[in-house]
Symmetry: C2
Subunit: 146 residues, 2 copies
């Protein structure tokens, strides 16, 4: 198992080394030892960094991300909470979709003031709605085939 120098990881992940040091410091993506002073990373660190990037892009804080995918392979990381996060993501995705549609509309609509355009107003109104009326999984018959 070859360990990677922080510089290699930084290059591969497209992050500055300072960020890696920071993540190491807060324990989010720990380094895997040192050679002299230099941090070394297991290749898995790249996957972890990707995960962190995903979480960041989704608007989660580093703390939340740490809670979802701890550095250790956490055994039972509160499935409730994870499903809650996933639900939150569903809502966020819904909101983003609404915003995207609104933006596309604005880009194409010739109305001089969006505020006067009924389509625009409707789009914005719609965006406030919940994605679904709280869909119950109906787990009764589903044999969790994953």
């Amino acid at each position: 198992m070859k360990l990677l120098d922080i510089g290699e990881v930084a290059a591969a992940a497209g992050l500055p080394p300072s960020t890696l040091r920071y993540y190491d410091e807060i324990g989010l993506v720990p380094s895997d030892g040192r050679r002299g002073l230099r941090r070394l990373y297991a290749p898995d660190a790249l996957l972890q960094l990707k995960l962190v990037a995903m979480g960041r892009a989704a608007g989660f804080s580093l703390d939340e991300i740490a809670g979802m995918f701890g550095p250790d392979g956490r055994p039972d990381p509160d499935r409730e909470a994870l499903h809650a996060k996933a639900d939150e993501l569903d809502r966020r995705i819904h909101a983003l979709t609404a915003l995207r549609d609104t933006i596309r509309h604005v880009a194409d609509c010739p109305a001089p003031r969006h505020m006067d355009c009924p389509t625009f107003r409707r789009l914005v109104e719609l965006a406030g709605r919940r994605p679904r009326p709280r869909r119950k999984p109906r787990r009764r018959a589903a044999p969790g085939r994953d």
Copy 2:
């Protein structure tokens, strides 16, 4: 046209008055005059605030949001840029969907360490892909019924 007191707007929008003052100060959601010292808002401000909330939720900065939907009904707000934003949103939506799926998997997968679960690794790998290979709209036959 009844103007709303800042307190009413704050209550309706679910924001603290300080935020409204801040948005007013930076010109993002300007107030519509004063009664004595008190800011008054046109009802449209509520829609604007909703829009701002959408943008924030999508991860845009206030500056970017201002650029998309200026307080004035900007006539031709750089359609290029707006479509670029929309594309960015598409990518973001894609990323969020991937993260959501990954999280749901983690919530349901019995593997002791996610890093060892091939499904997990595949999900994370997949998340890096582009949403689509740059789909051309092919506007030819679409009678744009909007």
